[in-house]
Amino acid sequence: MSDQIKQATQEYATRLGDDSVVLGHRISEWVSYGPFLEEDIAYGNVALDYIGRARMFYTYAAELADDGRDEDDFAYMRNDREYRNLLLMELPKGDFAYSQVRQLFADVYYALMLPELLQSKDETLSAIAAKAIKETKYHLRRSRDWVLRLGDGTEESHQRAQKAVDQLWGYTHELFDMDETEQLLADAGIGVDVAGLRDRWLEMVSVILTEATLTVPEDSWAVRGGRIGNHTENLGHMLTEMQIVHRSHPGCKW
C-alpha cells in the first residue's frame, strides 16, 4: 500500500467509523423512550450494530495510523471539528417519525453502499462490509415498515412523517458527495464511488415514500460540511455527553 493510499484509507475508515458511532449514539438515545417495549429492544439492536461497526472501522483506522491510538481514542478524544461524519447522522433524535425517516434514508444508503464496499480490494473494509450487509437488511426492512405504517397510518402520523421527510431531505445530498480522498480510493478500487449511487437511492426512497403516501420533496436546499468537520451545532452537544467520563479521567482504561 502506498503511503498516500494508506493515509487516505485511514481517513476513509475514520469517516465511516464516525458515521457509525454518531448514528449509533443517536439511536441509543431511544432506549427506554420507545413507544413500546419491543421497540426499545429493536432500537437497542440497531444501535448495537452501529457501535459494532464503529469499533471495527476505528480499529482499522488505528492500525493504519499506527501511532498508539486505539478505537476509543478515535471515538472519545476528538472534538466535533475533528469528526468527519455526514451531517444526517448527527441530527437530534427528534420524534419517532423523524428518527425512522432518517433511518430509512441511512439504511437505503447503506444497502447500496455496502455491496460496493464488499468488492473493495482492501480486505478489512470488505470484511466489515460483509458483516454489515446482513445487519442492514434487517434495518432496512424495519425502517421501511415503519415509514409505511407512519405515512399511511393516521392523519397525525402522516403529517409527522411528511414533516420529517421535508426537514431531513436537505441533508441527504451530502451522502453522495465525493472529495479527493474518496475519489482516490474509488479509483484504486478501495472506496465506494458514492456519487454513482445517487440515482438508485432516489429511486428506492421514492418508491417507499410513494407507497407510504408521502411526497418526495423538491431539491430546494442542501446543507453540507460533515466530511470537512463543519458540523451542525448538534454534534458538539452529543459529543459533550458521550465524552465527558472518558475525558474527565485522562489515560484510564475501562
Partner: protein, 314 residues
C-alpha cells in the same frame, strides 16, 4: 372444608408438580403470582432507566456495547415476564396501568439514582447478583411459566453479573479516581441490594402463604444471608473496603454475621422518599404517552391493510 379442586392443587404442589395456566388454582394463588410476576416484570422495565442514564456517557465503546446489550436483555426479560403473567388472565396494558398508577410496585432499588459510571458496574454486580440469588431459588417455583422464565432469565443475569463485576474490577484496579468511584458505588448500593430480599421473615406480609404454595422456595433472610456470604470474597478480590464494618465470619453458623439493616430508610424510600420514585414513573408515563400516536398509527395502518385484503378476497 377443602374442595376436591383444592385438594388436587395442594397435591400437585406437594409432589413438586408444576401448576400450568389451564389448571385450576386458588384465587389467592393467582393474585399472589400476578403481584409477584408483574412486579418482577416492572422491575426489569424500570431498571432500564438507571442504567440507561449512563448509556450515552459510557467511557469506552466496548462498555457502551455491553451496556446496550444488557439493557436490551432487560427489556426482553420484561417482555417474557409480562407474557408469563398474561397466562394468569391479566393483560399487559392492565399491568402497565397499574405500574403507572402506583398500584403495582417495582423493585425499590431503582428509586436510587445512578450518580457515576461505577454505579453501572455496581448494579450489574450487586443488584443483578442479588436478583440471581432470588431467581435461582425461583427456578423451582410452583407455577410452570414463571419457573421456566426464571431458568431462562437466570442464564442472562449471570452473564450480566459477571460483566458488572468485571467493570468494577477495571475501576478498582484503575486510577485513584476510578477506585474511589468504585468504592463509592459499592458503599451506596450494598445496603439497598441487601434490602432487595425484602423485610425480615417475621415482618414479611406475603411470605408465609407464598412458601406454602411454593411460589417462594426460600425465606427472605436465608436468601439475603447467601448474598452476604458470597459478596465478602468478591469485595476482597476487588481490593475495596467492605461497607459493613461489622462483617465477621461466624464459625458456628457457617455464615457471616453482619450489621442490622436500616429498615427505616428502606420503608422511607419505598414510601416515596427515594430520589427517583417520581422520576421513574414519570419517565415511563412520558415515553408511553409520547408513543400513543405511534401505536395509533399501527392500528390505523393494519386496519387499512385488512380492509384492502378483504376487498381483494371478495
Amino acid at each position: 372444608m377443602t374442595t376436591p379442586q383444592e385438594e388436587n392443587f395442594m397435591r400437585k404442589i406437594s409432589a413438586e408438580e408444576k401448576i400450568e395456566p389451564k389448571d385450576w388454582m386458588p384465587d389467592a394463588y393467582r393474585k399472589n403470582l400476578i403481584r409477584q410476576i408483574s412486579q418482577h416484570a416492572h422491575s426489569e422495565v424500570i431498571g432500564m432507566q438507571p442504567e440507561g442514564n449512563w448509556l450515552t456517557r459510557a467511557p469506552s465503546l466496548r462498555r457502551k456495547a455491553i451496556l446496550l446489550s444488557k439493557i436490551q436483555d432487560e427489556a426482553g426479560h420484561g417482555l417474557y415476564l409480562y407474557s408469563a403473567c398474561e397466562t394468569l388472565g391479566i393483560s399487559r396494558s392492565e399491568m402497565i396501568e397499574q405500574l403507572q398508577s402506583g398500584a403495582a410496585k417495582y423493585s425499590s432499588i431503582f428509586n436510587y439514582p445512578t450518580l457515576t459510571w461505577a454505579d453501572v458496574g455496581a448494579i450489574g454486580w450487586l443488584v443483578d447478583g442479588a436478583a440471581i440469588v432470588n431467581q435461582v431459588s425461583l427456578q423451582r417455583t410452583s407455577y410452570g411459566p414463571y419457573s421456566r422464565g426464571m431458568i431462562r432469565i437466570c442464564k442472562e443475569e449471570s452473564f450480566h453479573q459477571r460483566q458488572g463485576y468485571e467493570a468494577m474490577l477495571a475501576l478498582a484496579k484503575g486510577s485513584e479516581g476510578q477506585k474511589a468511584m468504585a468504592q463509592d458505588a459499592l458503599n451506596r448500593f450494598y445496603w439497598p441490594a441487601l434490602m432487595m430480599f425484602g423485610p425480615h421473615d417475621s415482618e414479611s406480609a406475603h411470605s408465609q402463604k407464598s412458601m406454602e404454595w411454593k411460589i417462594k422456595r426460600e425465606t427472605n433472610d436465608d436468601l439475603r444471608q447467601k448474598f452476604v456470604d458470597q459478596t465478602v470474597k468478591q469485595i476482597e478480590v476487588l481490593g475495596l473496603e467492605h461497607p459493613d464494618k461489622n462483617i465477621k465470619w461466624n464459625e458456628e453458623r457457617g455464615h457471616y454475621d453482619s450489621s442490622d439493616l436500616n429498615w427505616d430508610e428502606f420503608w422511607s424510600v419505598i414510601n416515596g422518599n427515594g430520589h427517583c420514585n417520581r422520576q421513574r414513573v414519570e419517565h415511563h408515563v412520558a415515553a408511553h404517552d409520547e408513543g400513543e400516536w405511534v401505536r395509533d398509527a399501527i392500528t390505523a395502518y393494519n386496519e387499512k391493510k385488512r380492509a384492502k385484503n378483504a376487498q381483494h378476497a371478495a
